[in-house]
């Protein structure tokens, strides 16, 4: 991209500047220049004053154009006009985000959203200074159809279901009743204030009640984009996050209905009781309809993903397209698109994740994160640009009253609602919680876009509304957004705990679920747990069967968790070096034999001889490695030639095959040789024998501890450790045809074939040394299966 080279060249020239911030500004200016420049070149003859090398080149080109009859090189900016500018904006947004995170001091003081708005203001200002018409960047069409959906889908897909459902009542209360209260309180009082000022020079008193209510309903909804942007940075505890964030998502239905209702009747002027009733019905239709549409598409997506195992590359696309369809379908009927997206994402996720490959899962995750973060950045920048652009009509009374009323109504609303809610909640909301919920009620771009949609014709005060909306947004984002972090620290609000879940906690989570369900049943009282249990049962019995192709995807949560954990441990083990030194992670400082209840006396001497290496542990590692590598290989193989990523393992298949054959030949030779020269060594050592046995059954993963109980018995397959004969685990990742590509080679083979192995591009793990090889293994292991990297997912999404 041409504009990319411009800004990157310039800061190099001005490196004398001490502050990185100034450098950033320069980048911005130049970028902005390049935004303006094509516009200028295309629409008006006057040349941009800040001409740089590109500019001159283009000028020459255009001269060429006028002279020659047949243009060798021509300039047709209009041709690419729209996509080019979109690309420029996206680039600007990405560079801004980049720059922001390069300056750690800044990001600790100011939230990103504030800074982005400032950037937007500057960009808008420059465009205006350059005498250009500011493009209508934040028009409602592009906002609602392009910018908003990725953010909401990201939020919906990664929605932490458990806390969300547990607090659904509270969230709905805040979202529905709270928003209604805000709308009517602000609208009513605003109207009253406008009426008591007949002497006001402006024509405020002309404002009628319905436009006031409409304005209030726009301004009263908490904005998910703003909330996400700010709450992501303050790392607040799960409960508070889900309360505020959930509210911001679910109040969409209320806002949509109120908006359409008031917009409809603003022309008519009167509202009857019937209209009110219709409004309530309409609310139910909009909300439930949105959820229904989303759920339908979610199930469709889940069902589709059941059959994608042969065309893995398009798996992520299904998730995106079905969700977008859900959003558009909901919008088509004026249902709540946001709720449709949330429902769609939340419904499809568990099933889709069980069906798709790990790479697709990663792709979905990264695409969603990327889209949502770019969208978010763009929204804030556009908000700034639109502020500069918009026709403003500043009215001190109106704006101040609006800001004050918004704050007051939010505080009253939260306190009043918590008073009611706390009667029902088991975990009561404390005063601190209430404060954060009230303070976290940020307004954002959705309000602005809705305001933008108003027609000048019906609402002569539109400009004033927009100005007030922008002021409220700026006030909440800047003042509240910037102070909420220090306040959270000051009040010592409980933060999100970072600790990973242990298996004991998982067991007890499950145990507690069943226990509470049981107690509820004994009480004969059908509460939360009872219904959840019923739902889980139905889900397990019918839905999962229909929607999940793989048997493994249907295993109980606890087993799934255990497998995940086991895999992680194996990876840690490998990464921590050699696979035989216990890793730094806790569980391995105590070994399996410490907790075995009955230790057979006969086995003791053997165990003592074991240097720090309990058999069970090692066995376990080996099984894990074996089965998982096998799985990884299968997964890789499931990619066909449509795969976009060049897989390092797939390059040079023939090489592997040839080398494999070489090894086999060599092996035969060695065995033959051993038979001749070393009659003492058994031709088929137990290890080798076991390796063969195991390689036949390695697809079904069986944890190995089960075997360690048998230690005392003369197990022909038991591994007999000797210090100098630790086996090498040699793994051939990509040989497609031999099922026993995972071999455990004992020393008597390894001695002979070591050199050969070294050349082999398969992965080799040895107890000590060979760092380079280990790296390879690590790389391959870090592909642990669809859900093993859950800890990477923050429970709350940015």
């Amino acid at each position: 991209m041409t504009s990319g080279t411009g800004p990157r060249g310039r800061p190099g020239a001005g490196r004398g500047l001490p502050e990185r911030g100034l450098l950033l500004l320069l980048v911005l200016v130049l970028l902005e220049g390049s935004v303006v420049f094509p516009l200028g070149a295309a629409s008006s003859p006057d040349v941009d004053p800040r001409g740089h090398s590109e500019d001159r080149a283009v000028a020459e080109e255009s001269q060429n154009y006028s002279k020659k009859a047949f243009p060798v090189l021509s300039l047709d900016y209009h041709h690419i006009h729209v996509p080019f500018e979109i690309a420029l904006w996206v680039l600007l947004a990405s560079l801004m985000k980049l720059g922001f995170h390069l300056i750690p001091r800044l990001s600790s003081i100011v939230p990103e959203s504030c800074l982005l708005i400032v950037v937007g203001l500057l960009v808008g200002g420059f465009i205006k200074l350059a005498g250009e018409k500011v493009p209508p960047v934040l028009d409602s069409q592009s906002f609602f159809l392009c910018l908003l959906p990725p953010i909401i889908l990201d939020a919906g897909y990664f929605l932490p279901i458990r806390p969300f459902m547990e607090n659904l009542g509270t969230i709905l209360m805040f979202a529905v009743v709270g928003t209604l209260w805000n709308a009517f309180f602000v609208g009513g009082l605003l109207y009253a204030v406008c009426q008591i000022q007949p002497g006001n020079p402006s024509d405020l008193h002309n404002l009628e009640l319905l436009p006031c209510l409409l304005f209030a309903s726009i301004i009263s909804a908490v904005d998910p984009v703003a909330v996400l942007a700010v709450f992501e940075e303050i790392h607040i505890n799960e409960l508070l996050h889900i309360l505020v964030f959930g509210e911001s998502l679910l109040n969409d239905a209320v806002t949509v209905v109120l908006y359409h209702l008031f917009e409809e009747y603003s022309g008519a002027g009167t509202v009857t009781i019937l209209d009110g009733v219709l409004g309530v019905i309409s609310f139910l239709v909009v909300a439930l309809g949105g959820v229904l549409v989303g759920a339908i598409y979610g199930f469709l997506a889940a069902f589709t993903s059941r059959f994608t195992s042969h065309v893995r590359v398009i798996e992520p696309l299904f998730v995106f397209v079905y969700s977008y369809m859900a959003y558009l379908s909901a919008e088509m009927f004026h249902l709540s698109g946001i709720m449709a997206l949330i429902a769609c994402g939340a419904v499809m996720r568990p099933y889709v994740e069980a069906n798709i490959s790990h790479k697709s899962h990663t792709t979905i995750k990264y695409f969603l994160k990327m889209w949502s973060s770019v969208s978010e950045t763009l929204i804030f920048i556009f908000l700034g640009v639109a502020t500069v652009d918009g026709p403003h009509s500043w009215n001190w009374t109106f704006v101040t009253v609006t800001v004050l009323l918004c704050l007051v109504s939010r505080v009253i609303g939260v306190i009043g609602l918590t008073f009611v809610i706390n009667k029902f909640r088991i975990v009561k909301l404390t005063t601190k919680d209430q404060f954060i919920v009230a303070y976290g009620g940020l307004r954002g771009a959705i309000a602005f876009s809705l305001g933008f949609l108003l027609e000048e014709k019906h609402f002569p005060m539109r400009d004033m509304f927009l100005t007030a909306i922008i002021t409220v947004i700026f006030f909440t984002v800047f003042v509240q957004g910037m102070t909420i972090k220090p306040l959270v620290e000051l009040l010592a609000v409980k933060k999100k705990q970072e600790a990973k879940r242990t298996i004991n906690e998982e067991i007890h989570t499950q145990f507690l679920d069943h226990l509470l369900t049981g107690i509820e049943d004994i009480c004969g009282h059908y509460g939360h747990h009872h219904w959840k249990d019923k739902l889980n049962r139905i889900n397990k019995k019918y839905v999962k069967k229909c929607l999940i192709a793989d048997e493994r995807g249907r295993e109980p949560q606890l087993i799934a968790f255990y497998h995940k954990m086991e895999m992680k441990q194996a990876i840690e083990l490998v990464e921590s070096g050699g696979g035989f030194k216990p890793p730094s992670a806790l569980p391995s400082t105590v070994s399996m034999q410490n907790i075995q209840p009955k230790k057979p006396a006969a086995a003791k001497p053997v165990q003592r001889a074991l240097p720090q290496l309990p058999k069970g542990r090692e066995e376990e590692i080996r099984t894990i490695l074996r089965s998982n590598l096998q799985r990884t290989r299968q997964r890789l193989r499931s990619y066909n030639r449509h795969t976009l990523v060049a897989d390092p393992y797939e390059e040079g298949f023939s090489d592997f095959i040839i080398k494999k054959q070489k090894i086999i030949e060599l092996e035969k030779k060695i065995i033959h040789m051993n038979n001749l020269t070393l009659p003492a060594a058994p031709p088929d050592s137990p290890t080798l024998c076991r390796a063969r046995l195991a390689s036949g059954t390695e697809t079904d993963f069986k944890p190995a501890q089960q075997q360690k109980g048998k230690q005392s018995s003369p197990d022909p397959q038991a591994y007999r450790p000797k210090r100098d004969s630790v086996p090498t685990i040699q793994v051939d990742l990509a040989s497609p045809q031999s099922p026993d590509s995972v071999n455990l080679m004992d020393e008597f083979r390894a001695n002979g074939s070591r050199r050969e192995e070294e050349e082999d591009q398969g992965l080799t793990m040895r107890p000590r040394g060979e760092d380079g090889r280990r790296e390879q293994l690590t790389r391959c292991l870090s592909d642990p299966g669809p859900s093993a990297d859950e800890d990477e997912d923050e429970p709350f999404l940015p």
């Binding site: 007890h508 049943d521 004994i522 004969g524 295993e555 105590v590 399996m592 003592r608």
Partner: protein
């Protein structure tokens, strides 16, 4: 039915309310349920619990039922099991699931936490020796997974083993190969579930002002009528 409908503030309830922290209204509702479960007798036996239809599908049903007949849960420092429980015991057991009130001190919170964890611990520690041994823990996990279709005993076993390993490493730190970890003591259990926030999770809504209770009540009375 009318005879059972005790008015709030009855003298017999005052003691119970003091002891368990339930309100009169809650005690009234639970009393009704008790009578319904026991078919209007004064004591509940295990058979009564087994007849609760919804409980049948619960994987840890037997453990839940046992908990009701475990003297350790009666808050009287007793031990062993009983054959039948009266309403008071029933209420005491239920009080383990009472949510803590809004304003509690840190100490009270800790006490609630210990109480609830003790209940869980007692459920696991079936032989009442103060430790959860590996065998007991395996049993817990097996029960927990007992309803899943493809039950693999080995999987359950290895999960329990891994969990035990974790407990041992959390509570003991490093162990020599010939040392032996006896089992989870209560102190270890506390430490183990440190971040678990049990005080806000092991709770049941005993009295709702929303419709679910009304619904449940109407169901209860309907069932009672059917029984009668």
């Amino acid at each position: 039915m009318g005879a059972l409908q005790s008015l709030p503030g009855e003298p017999e309830y005052v003691d119970l309310a003091k002891k368990t922290g339930f309100s009169f209204e809650q005690i009234g509702i639970l009393h009704k349920r008790f009578k319904q479960l026991s078919h209007n007798e004064d004591t509940l036996v295990r058979e009564h619990f087994r007849k609760i239809p919804d409980l049948e599908s619960n994987p840890i049903r037997s453990q839940i039922i046992e908990a009701f007949f475990d003297r350790r849960n009666f808050r009287q420092n007793g031990e062993g099991t009983v054959e039948a429980i009266g309403f008071e015991e029933f209420l005491v057991i239920m009080s383990h699931f009472r949510p803590p009130s809004l304003h509690v001190t840190e100490e009270q919170r800790e006490a609630v936490r210990r109480d609830k964890l003790r209940f869980l611990f007692n459920m696991h520690d079936t032989d009442n020796d103060g430790t959860i041994t590996l065998e007991e823990y395996r049993h817990v996990v097996e029960e927990l997974l007992s309803l899943s279709e493809a039950l693999e005993k080995d999987t359950a076993k290895s999960i329990a083993d891994a969990a035990m390993l974790e407990v041992a490493s959390i509570s003991m730190g490093h162990m020599e190969p010939d040392e032996f970890y006896e089992g989870i003591t209560f102190e270890h259990f506390l430490k183990l579930l440190n971040g678990f926030e049990i005080e806000s999770r092991m709770n049941i809504r005993f009295l709702n002002m929303d419709t679910t209770t009304l619904f449940a009540l109407s169901r209860v009375s309907k069932e009672t009528c059917q029984h009668l």
